[in-house]
């Protein structure tokens, strides 16, 4: 276990899902400024589905993400700005634009079995002089051996860090341990963990990951992330401090900004309700939450039935169109 953990705040990317991609330049500026004051090392800014995610499929961004990235860079002299890129949605051109605006870290995300589509993007990030992260989403859907093999590919492409991403908030602490341990035994590079709190174990999972040697951790202040949100950053900073693990983050400042700047942006406080619980239970991509709610209303079906069916069909991240398809199918039953 390392006594130093490097945090990435994801509210301005993962949280974009929770507010249907409606961030404004002013919101981004004030959030980044206060995170920067609190000494958060990395802040991720992008559409919820990464660069190029603004679409009818996932929801159109209110403000072009490049403007948000530019605003974020302009007010951060300590924190580095990271961007998410999902190959198949965003492109190398998008990455180059973000880099030009001052993004320092590229987090290249694929489904846990599809790492080979990230090669070009990881290599490009390195060529551009960015820090590159391989982000293996929906990690609960593959056996540990597959996860290791895919992580190894990303490491070979040049990733500086490889993350286990629990996109559905479906993993339990012992499963996180198993995964991080296997990666720690195989990879040379740093290992990260990104959790979701759908089963109320995001914090437990994060601590399990750290115990097994993960050194890069994602969190969102006030749990401002998809589904029930991520590991709550300000709580994590406090917990790690109690454990004698340093994050370099100013706890009071982070608590204050969470309370005073982020909480007012949330349409309602993040909680585990029956829908977000079902995401974790069924193993479904957390950003499906609001889409499934809307589809349930539209087709007069129970949103839990939609989510369970999506899980049964092994639908992966990005397949938001299947929500309507499944809801329409249930309505016709």
């Amino acid at each position: 276990m390392s006594n130093e953990i490097i945090l990435t705040e994801v509210a301005l990317r993962d949280g974009s899902h929770a507010i249907s991609h409606q961030y404004t330049v002013e919101q981004v500026r004030s959030i980044v400024q206060s995170l920067n004051d609190a000494m958060i090392p990395y802040i991720e800014v992008s559409h919820g589905d990464g660069l190029g995610g603004s679409s009818l499929q996932y929801g159109l961004s209110k403000v072009d993400e490049m403007k948000l990235i530019e605003a974020a860079v302009s007010v951060s002299n300590f924190s580095k700005i990271a961007v998410l890129l999902i190959p198949g949605i965003g492109t190398i051109e998008d990455l180059k634009e973000a880099k030009k605006l001052g993004a320092k870290m590229a987090r290249v995300a694929t489904h846990v079995t599809e790492a080979d589509i990230s090669k070009q993007h990881i290599e490009t990030a390195k060529e551009l002089g960015m820090e590159a992260v391989g982000f293996l989403m929906m990690s609960h859907m593959a056996p540990v051996e597959t996860l290791v093999e895919q992580a190894k590919l990303m490491e070979n492409y040049g990733a500086d860090i490889v993350y286990v991403v629990d996109s559905a908030g479906a993993l339990l602490p012992h499963e996180v341990k198993e995964r991080i341990r296997a990666l720690r035994q195989t990879l040379e590079v740093d290992i990260g963990f990104h959790g979701h709190n759908n089963l109320s174990v995001a914090m437990g999972n994060t601590l399990a990951a750290i115990e097994e040697g993960a050194t890069r951790i994602d969190g969102s202040v006030r749990c401002l992330g998809a589904g029930a949100g991520n590991t709550q950053t300000e709580v994590l900073v406090a917990v790690l401090d109690k454990m004698g693990i340093s994050t370099g983050v100013d706890l009071y400042k982070l608590m204050d900004m969470a309370e005073e700047i982020v909480a007012p942006i949330l349409p309602k406080p993040q909680e585990i309700n029956r829908d977000s619980l079902t995401l974790g239970y069924a193993g479904v991509y957390s950003s499906f939450l609001l889409h499934a709610n809307r589809a349930a209303k539209r087709f007069s079906v129970d949103s839990r039935d939609i989510l369970i069916e999506l899980g049964r069909q092994k639908i992966v991240g990005g397949q938001e169109d299947m929500i309507i398809d499944v809801a329409a199918g249930l309505a016709n039953k």
């Binding site: 009818l56 198949g88 489904h111 079995t113 080979d116 070009q120 639908i315 992966v316 990005g318 397949q319």
Partner: protein, 296 residues
């Protein structure tokens, strides 16, 4: 009536599926397979079928140019540059199934007539072949200000070429949505799904149309007519539900089941490429005969 002679460059999955389809054609006569490895499955099958087989790729054709009138390129964007050069030198029409996109984009149900005499045409992408007909069907009724498509294919049907350069898919398809489909702005997304058994190719089309009121009936009719046109060469192409209208947004869900010739049925994405290519070649061939008939 004599058939127009055709040859395939590339003996991989796509080339092999083309081989099966072309041997069924009444208009085209497959004479030649141009690969690089004589022991590959595709090359061996070509020999078994009694085709002329060259293992030095398209260069084999330099010795015997009369073997072929129309060429199919099922190699890679990089290899296509050389193949296109040879085809041009020999005066052969080239149907490009790679992402090289040297020639104009072609979708059989949309703009085939515009390019019958083009020396090189490009088949865009699988997602483009599946969705551009629908964008075009909508834009025939109402101007499409924005057309977005999401292609979901089984991981097993995504070959190494697609995986190594996935941006080529999104960028080329987006361009095709605009230039062939007629949308003012296009966007494409591709998702790989590893579920077992492999899923059929799924395509979702979202279009924003212009105008105060939306002609739901007209658009639905136009889409259905287009679907049956595509079905004439891809029988497994179908609407999963009725088009969904929401304000000025039209959403269409498609499924593409392959013919199961050489490739498995779930690989509708590969099947729609080879089927479209054969359809284009057949129309080109008919046009040639027509031109010859008019001259004599």
């Amino acid at each position: 009536m004599e058939r127009i002679k055709v040859g395939i460059i590339g003996s991989g999955n796509i080339g092999s599926d083309l081989m099966v389809k072309l041997t069924k054609s009444d208009v085209l006569e497959l004479t030649t397979m141009m690969g690089i490895n004589r022991t590959s499955k595709g090359m061996q099958h070509a020999e078994y079928l009694g085709l002329q087989v060259f293992d030095n790729g398209v260069d084999g054709l330099l010795e015997q140019p009369d073997l072929v009138d129309i060429l199919f390129d099922a190699t890679s964007a990089k290899a296509h540059l050389h193949n296109a050069e040879v085809a041009k030198k020999l005066g052969k029409q080239m149907l490009d199934l790679t992402p090289a996109a040297l020639g104009p984009f072609i979708v059989p149900t949309v703009n085939l007539g515009e390019h019958v005499n083009a020396e090189n045409v490009n088949l865009i992408t699988c997602g483009g072949q599946a969705t551009i007909p629908i964008i075009s069907a909508i834009s025939q009724i109402a101007p499409v200000e924005y057309g977005e498509i999401v292609a979901t294919i089984s991981s097993k049907s995504a070959g190494p070429g697609t995986r190594a350069n996935i941006d080529e898919f999104t960028e080329t398809t987006a361009k095709g949505i605009e230039t062939v489909g007629g949308a003012r702005k296009g966007k494409a997304i591709i998702i790989l799904n590893p579920a077992e058994p492999p899923i059929m190719m799924r395509d979702t089309i979202h279009a924003l149309v212009e105008g105060e009121t939306i002609d739901e009936e007209g658009i639905t009719k136009s889409i259905k007519e287009m679907v049956s046109k595509v079905q004439s060469y891809v029988p497994g192409y179908k609407l999963r539900t009725e088009p969904i209208f929401d304000g000025n947004k039209v959403t269409v869900f498609l499924e593409v089941e392959g013919a199961g010739h050489y490739l498995p049925k779930y690989a509708g994405n590969l099947d729609i490429m080879t089927s479209a290519a054969v359809k284009v070649a057949e129309e080109f061939a008919k046009n040639r005969k027509h031109q010859v008939a008019n001259h004599s």
